[in-house]
Amino acid sequence: MADASLEATLTTLAADGATGALRAGRAGTVFLDRGRVCYVECAGTPGVEELLAASGRISAGGVKSTRQGATGDGGDTLVRRGVLTRGELQFCVLGATLDASFFLFGGSGAPKLRFRDGDRHWLGPHWFFDVSGLFRECRRRSARLDRAWASAELDNHPITPRRHVRARHVVLSALQWEIVLASDGVTPPAELARRIGRSAYSTLLAVRELAAAELLEPPEPAKPSEAPKPNEPPKPNEAGKPNEPPKSNEVPKPNDPPKPADPAQPAVPAAPREPAEPPGSGDSGPAVLPRRTNRPGNGGLVMSAGVPATSGDPTDVNLLIRLRDALEALQ
């Protein structure tokens, strides 16, 4: 079973009408109930526990104690106690499931799959997805991301709203407002999502929409095709060797010149974080990328091409590398 893809394994389990939990290495777990997916968790996205606590309806401690006391029907207990309505519980479960699926199924590499028959999530089953429908929705979501802003360059980049907006006014969604308020020039989207208790996908989508509206600072060495200002002289060192970004020890260099040339981005602490970069671009993956180490070389190519040395938490970087790989695989 370890050789089969997640989708193939899930399809087989669904056809067998299986009930249990399919673990995909340390990346996440898919819970099945009689052949249908009833919950998915992913290490990089907020789970129901976090969403419940962030909703303000119940404290984190309340969630924990319900979980410990639950015998497969924790969700029913919450509804009975009046913490949530049935609809809210379903919405919480399906939202977390779709969010986790998008990042878990989009992951690169082949995590070790292990199915534990009969394992259930503490909330119990409250919403069901067909395996094929779930994968279809994940593909729709990636297409949606690309329609909003067809570049992944800001996906794992700290969010830095522009200080000056050229338009007379801008219209933000509630989520975009929260993102702008919570952004600190250091935190990348996935981590910010967790902090504000929103799904990682909708946060990412909102960030791409903000980028499309030119409300975010572009990453330092902006891609020529998308940079509105070609007067930025970012890569003097690299001009003669544009095809060699994966070499990890060269990554910091092209990053230094733009800093003095671009004083509009003082908040991005590129230099101190550079040590976190090589895992994506070198062979030292295992040390800093705990969850997915199968394809360090490929991940490095992707990272170095789109994202400069500024990187956030390695966990998020890893997650976003996998997302990016998935997006590229779809093209």
Binding site: L84, G87, G95
Partner: protein, 123 residues
């Protein structure tokens, strides 16, 4: 209190209802629907419709902030109602109802839809 499927069934029981669906506004996901030929396509379209309304009103409203209670679109064949519901999680959730123009009572449908939404998500 009711779940998503019961909520859609109740919406479909409104006189003149042709199609009812729930759409997650943030992601554009069609959560569930009844009576829709192309659930995903309709969901994407209605989400854009709501979004455009929201953006357009924000630009044109003289009083600054406006909160949309619902959107009613009258077409040559019927009505399209979009009711945004705030949830404690990602949101808002859009409840969309398409009505037959000849059979529906718009005022009644609007009130019924609101009352159903309050059973789904605590107001």
């Amino acid at each position: 209190m009711i779940g998503i499927e019961e909520c859609l069934a109740e919406a479909m029981a409104i006189p003149g209802a042709l199609c009812a669906m729930l759409v997650d506004h943030a992601s554009g996901t069609a959560i569930a629907g009844q009576g829709a030929a192309d659930l995903e396509g309709s969901a994407a379209g209605l989400r854009e419709c709501y979004r455009a309304t929201q953006g357009g009103l924000a630009m044109s409203s003289p009083d600054g902030t406006v909160r949309i209670e619902d959107v009613i679109v009258t077409t040559d064949h019927g009505y399209q109602l979009i009711l945004p519901m705030e949830t404690p999680f990602d949101g808002p959730l859009l409840m969309c109802l398409r009505l037959d123009r000849g059979r529906a009572n718009l005022a009644l449908a609007r009130l019924r839809l609101r009352s159903i939404s309050h059973q789904l998500i605590a107001p």
